[in-house]
């Protein structure tokens, strides 16, 4: 198959995105070429804009364009319940359930199969928040696989040092299922059915 060089480059770049295979990349690239230039420019600018203006909140790690993020600023949210998740994507899913506590995002796809080790996790900001004494309960919203279990045990050890209660999402999430893809009802049930560890 021969493509014009710039087209080939676009396909290559698109293919680097998660869940995009060669066929989808090709379809997306051809679609972009058919789209009016103005629309394409908007897309390109949106990508650059988001990349340059969105960053992790210094307090909770959730993605934001103001620091602290709107969730951390929201006075109506319950500061005594802190939900710990691995990725910002997990927070988006949990927000949809109507959870009204606050968050802490590790921003790290924890995977022992790769090169990561617990020692390289940055948990200082979490400990800073536990020191203030305002957090009464930490909910660990971690994936129900072996890595999630390792992480949960590690974090439970950290949190318990500050005398704070730790619970973990327990029921509802199918074994081998992932939080980001769990539907709202299952996830709400999981939050209600959390158990102490």
């Amino acid at each position: 198959m021969h493509f014009a060089r710039p087209l080939e480059k676009l396909i290559d770049e698109l293919q680097k995105l998660p869940t995009i295979g060669p066929k989808t990349a090709q379809r997306l690239a051809l679609y972009i070429l058919k789209t009016p230039e103005e629309e394409v420019r908007k897309l390109a600018e949106a990508i650059i804009d988001a990349k340059s203006r969105v960053f992790p909140c210094s307090r909770c790690g959730y993605l934001t364009d103001i620091d602290p993020c709107p969730i951390c600023r929201d006075e109506k949210r319950d500061k005594s319940i802190l939900c710990v998740a691995e990725e910002a994507g997990d927070i988006i899913a949990i927000e949809r359930t109507g959870f009204k506590g606050q968050y802490f995002v590790l921003n790290k796809d924890f995977n022992l199969m790769g090169h990561d080790d617990l020692g390289s996790l940055n948990i200082k900001p979490l400990e800073e928040r536990l020191k203030t004494g305002e957090v009464k309960e930490v909910i660990l919203a971690l994936n129900p696989d072996i890595d999630g279990e390792i992480l949960a045990r590690f974090l439970a050890g950290v949190v318990e040092k500050y005398g704070v209660k730790v619970t973990r999402l327990a029921h509802g999430i199918p074994v081998g299922g992932y939080i980001e893809f769990a539907d709202e009802i299952t996830l709400r049930r999981a939050i209600e059915g959390r158990r102490e560890i």
């Binding site: 022992l112 617990l118 072996i146 279990e149 390792i150 590690f154």
Partner: protein, 365 residues
Amino acid sequence: MKVKELAVKNFRNIKEILLPEERLGNLNIFTGNNGQGKTNLLEALYILSGNSSFRSPNYDHLVNYEKEYFNINAKYTAGEKDLEIGLTYTRSKSKEIFLNRKKIRSKHPYIPKVVLFIPDDLYLIKGSPGRRRNFIDFMLKQISAEYAYLIEEYGKILKKRNLMLKKEAIRDKTLNILDGMLTEKAALIIMQRINLINMLEKEVRDIYSFLNKEEADIKIKYALSFPIPDEKVNISTLKARMAEELIKIRNQEGMRKTTLLGPHLDDINFYYNNKLARFFSSQGQQRNLVVALKIAEAQTFCRIRGFYPLFLLDEVLSELDYERRNLLLKYLGEAEFQTFMTAVNIDDIDVKGAAVFNVKDGSIV
């Protein structure tokens, strides 16, 4: 569990075979020359249990070479329940299992349960420890889906732990957590294996003396890969002891880069009149012991689950002498469980009361 009807289509050399209720009995014998399809029928029954075949893990090998799919259908009872199971496999696709015409996963509790005895099992006593662990695990996985899940989880944690050990510097923090997870699962696995072995031991003695017309003291002992006094074996001490031992050998594991103890390395020892059968029993005694163990497997299964599995034997008769062959057939003829067996030759055995099927070129003649 009793099969009342079996229909097999496009399976290996079988184009189509139907064994109707009026022809099936408690003891069913498939006879005929080699290569005619006797074992294929046994194999068809076996894979209805959700396990992949004992002859080939690849389902494509099971489809008749002229066909695109195979289909196995059985009507059977499990306890009080009347059930019908269908298994269909189409080339290079995944298998589909239907219970009472509803699609199910292969871990369904009412899927047929089996005890399989193939000539290879005669190496159970003196073969590798892995063989003996598989013997116990196969039973436990059929008895409880929870055990099957436990073994799977243990395997994942172990794999992760071994990966950690392969890294240059051992990370104690992560290893401590992994050890906690590993020993929790290990203790549960070991405890269930020991309980099962104790039940097997109770059953096997009577069966052995019936089949051999000889009293023998048979003991089965679980051999742990770390020391613990017999009287202290319970879930919490198993976990605690294993954790202690793991700490002790951590440096050694760091050098060897693998986990050096746990249920994946445990063994099962068989004793015949107080001597380790692996070393001190004759080949004949070992063979007789395996036959008795397989029947004990069916009996023990029933004690736990309340119904019998199907008993499937491939070519085992030819391994036994004349007298034992007939004693085994007498036992199976009177047993409460249903047996399916293959035999090349039935000339010198007493088959009255048995349903005999002559298999030739993939058909019943």
